[in-house]
Symmetry: C2
Subunit: 387 residues, 2 copies
C-alpha cells in the first residue's frame, strides 16, 4: 500500500519564493525573511534553446554566473537563521528544508498556467525556461553529510523528495522530476552545507528518452521489463551485488561507466518515489545510507559523488511533449532507481571526462565492475551494514 | 580535387607498436628503441561491455590505471630521444609523430583479421576491446602548444590526421575515427607535451548515432542536409560567426552547451578529412589556429579545451555493426566538422558536469552564445587573424 507523506509546513521568502519544512517531530519556528532581496522578474530569467543537431534542449541561465560561490561559513545560505537576515532559511533550525533556487536553471514563473513546451520549429527555436529548480537541505548541521544522517532522517529526506515529486509531476508541462545530490568540491559543489537539488524539466531529458526507447524495444522483443531483467540477472550472478534486502537491491552494473558506480532499485517495479510502500521506503533509506557510508570508507577522504534518482510517470501521458519520437511519450516501462557514481578513480586521482566521453559519450573505465563491487563490499564490512 | 598526403616514415617501437613520422621537409633520423619494454600480450588488454540500458558499449581498460601520470620534464615520453632509452619517440627530432598508445582503451591486436563487432546478445555481453588508440605529437617542442604552430605546421597535423583517418577507416571492423585534443590539466591531461589522440572505435558512438539519426530525419522532412542548413542559418544571421573564409566557417552554435564552444565546418559538404582539397585543408588549418589563439587570449592563462573532429564514412557501408537501428548504418548525411569547447566558464571558475549534465545529459550554460561570439571576435581582433 502506497504510503502517505506528512504535508510540509510552508512559508515564503522575501522575494516571493516558496520554502517548505519537513520535520521528524515538531515543525521548526519559522521567522520572517527580512533580507532586502530584489524582486523576481515576472518572466523567466532563463531560456531553453533547441539543439537541432542532437535533438534536445539546452538551458541558458546567464544569472547563474552570479550564484553564491564558496561563501565563508558564517555566510552559509543554507544554515538556519532565526534573525531572517543572512540565509535562505529563516527558522530556528530544521530537519529537512526545500526552497526554490534563487539562481535557477528553470523558473516556475508560469507554473500552473497550462504551459506546454511547444514542439521545436527548426534551427533557432528558443522558449522561456519554464520549469522549477529547488534546493533540498538535508540537515541544519553545516558540517554534516547525507552519510551521517540516521536512517530515520534519511527516510525523511526520501519523504521530502516523494512529496516534491508528487507535486511537480502533477504540474502542467512538467515532463520529468530529477532529485539529485552533487557532493564534493571535485565535482564543482560551491556550497559545502549538505544539500541536494531537484530539477523539474519541461522536457524529457535525452538520457531518459534513450533509456525509455531501449526499454520499449526490450518489451517488444521479450515481453518483459528491461530493468526487471537487469535486476534478475545481477541478483542471479551475485558477483556485483553490494546489498540485497527484502525490498531493495544495490549493485555495480555490468557495464558501469563511472568510478564507484552503484545502482539501487526497489525489488518491485515502481515508476517513481510516490509508489513506494512504507517498508520499501525504509529499506531504500537504509540501503542508500549503507552505500554512502561505504563510499566514504573507500579512501581516506570523503568521496565526491553524484547521486541521481531516475523517476518516470506511472502511466502514459497524452500531454507529453517529448520531441524525439511519438513512442517516447509513454513512460510506463520506466523503473525507479538511484544511480550513484564518483569522479574519484583512485585514492589520489580523479576521473575526467575528456575527448571520448565529453565529445562522443563513449566511456573508458579503468577498474572492472567486479573489483569495484569487491571493494565496496569490503568497505561495508568495515563500516558495518545498517540493516 | 582531393589532395594526396605524403606517406609517413614508419618504424617500430621496442614492444612492436608502430610509429609514424610526418615531416615538413626531410624526415627525421630514426634510431632504435632500446627500452626494455614488456612484450604485448597477443589478445586485447581491454574489453567492451554492452550497456543494455543505454544501448552502447563501454570500454574497460584496467591497464590504464598504470598509465604515465605527470612525469617530470626530463622523463617526458613525447620528447624526441636520440638515445632510444627514455621516450616513446626514438628520433633526433620530429615535426609530427604518431604512435600506438602504450596504454590503449582499444587495441589493434586483431586488426586486419576481418573482425566485426558482434551484435550484443543481451545483458552480460562482453567482447575483446578491438580497435586502435594512437597518440599524435604535434611538435617536438615540449613547451609549445597547437596554437603556437605555424599555419604550415598546423596543416601538417591535419595531413597526419587525414592519413590516419584514411588508413583506420579502411580497416575491417572500424566504424568511426575520432581525432581529438585534450589540452590542460583542468580536463585531466597527464602529459603536458603538446599532443592529441585518435580513437578508432569498432562501433558508432552514441553521440554520432544520435546525430546521424537526426540528420536522416531532417533529410526526410526537408530534402536537405541538416548541417548545410545549420551553416546557412548561422552565416545568414552572422551574430555568432567567428570567422568565415572562402572555404571554412567557424561559429558559436545557437544552442551551445559548453563554455567557449565553437564549431568549424568546411563550406562544402565533406564527410571526413580525406575529402578536403588542398585549399580547403589550408583554410581549415588557418581558421583552427585562429580560434585556438583566440582561446588563449580570452583570459590571462592558456584555456583548457577539448577539440574534437567529427568524421563519417563517405558512403553507406554494408558492413556496419551499429547496434541502435538499421538505418544508422548509413553515414552519408554526416558532415566533417570540429567541435571545440572549454571547461573554463570565467577567468577564475570552471564548468563542472554535475547532476543534470552527467546523470541526464541535460546541459545548463551560464553565458549566452552571442556573448561568447562577441568575446571571441574581440580576442581575435587582439591577437590578429592569421588570414
Amino acid at each position: 500500500m502506497t504510503r502517505t507523506v506528512a504535508a510540509p509546513t510552508r512559508s515564503t521568502l522575501a522575494d516571493g519564493r516558496e520554502i517548505l519544512f519537513f520535520a521528524l517531530a515538531a515543525p521548526p519556528r519559522i521567522h520572517e525573511d527580512r533580507r532586502d532581496l530584489p524582486a523576481r522578474a515576472p518572466g523567466s530569467p532563463t531560456e531553453l534553446r533547441f539543439d537541432t543537431q542532437l535533438g534536445d534542449w539546452v538551458m541558458m541561465a546567464p544569472t547563474r554566473q552570479e550564484r553564491t560561490y564558496k561563501p565563508p561559513r558564517t555566510m552559509c545560505p543554507l544554515c538556519p537563521d532565526a534573525d531572517g537576515l543572512s540565509s535562505e532559511i529563516p527558522a530556528n533550525g530544521y530537519d529537512v528544508a526545500v526552497f526554490e533556487n534563487r539562481f535557477p536553471s528553470l523558473s516556475s514563473a508560469r507554473a500552473g498556467s497550462g504551459f506546454i513546451l511547444p514542439p521545436p520549429a527548426g534551427y533557432g527555436t528558443a522558449v522561456d525556461g519554464y520549469g522549477r529548480c529547488e534546493v533540498v537541505c538535508f540537515s541544519s548541521d553545516h558540517d554534516g553529510s547525507f552519510s551521517k544522517l540516521t536512517a530515520r532522517h534519511a527516510r525523511l529526506v526520501i519523504d521530502a523528495w516523494t512529496e516534491r515529486t508528487r507535486d511537480l509531476l502533477g504540474r502542467d508541462g512538467i515532463e520529468e522530476v530529477h532529485c539529485f545530490e552533487n557532493r564534493g568540491e571535485e565535482i564543482g559543489v560551491t556550497l559545502s552545507h549538505p544539500h541536494g537539488q531537484i530539477y523539474a524539466y519541461p522536457f524529457l531529458t535525452h538520457r531518459t528518452a534513450t533509456v525509455l526507447t531501449r526499454a520499449r524495444g526490450h518489451r517488444h522483443a521479450t515481453g518483459r521489463n528491461l530493468f526487471s531483467d537487469i535486476i534478475a540477472r545481477e541478483t542471479e550472478e551475485g558477483e556485483r551485488v553490494i546489498v540485497r534486502t527484502e525490498h531493495v537491491t544495490a549493485f555495480v552494473p555490468f557495464a558501469a561507466r563511472w568510478p564507484a558506480e552503484v545502482h539501487i532499485y526497489p525489488n518491485r517495479h515502481c515508476h517513481n518515489l510516490t509508489e513506494l510502500t512504507d517498508a520499501e521506503a525504509d529499506d531504500l533509506a537504509r540501503v542508500y545510507l549503507t552505500v554512502l557510508r561505504a563510499y566514504d570508507a573507500l579512501y581516506d577522504c570523503p568521496l565526491p559523488y553524484i547521486a541521481s534518482w531516475h523517476q518516470y510517470r506511472s502511466t502514459g501521458d497524452e500531454r507529453s511533449n517529448d520531441t524525439r519520437s511519438d513512442s517516447a511519450a509513454t513512460q510506463s516501462e520506466g523503473y525507479l532507481h538511484a544511480e550513484m557514481f564518483s569522479v574519484r578513480r583512485s585514492a589520489d586521482k580523479l576521473k575526467y571526462l575528456a575527448g571520448s566521453e565529453s565529445a562522443r559519450d563513449a566511456f573508458v573505465t579503468d577498474k572492472l565492475p567486479e573489483q569495484v563491487a569487491t571493494d565496496l563490499r569490503e568497505a561495508i564490512a568495515r563500516t558495518g551494514e545498517l540493516l
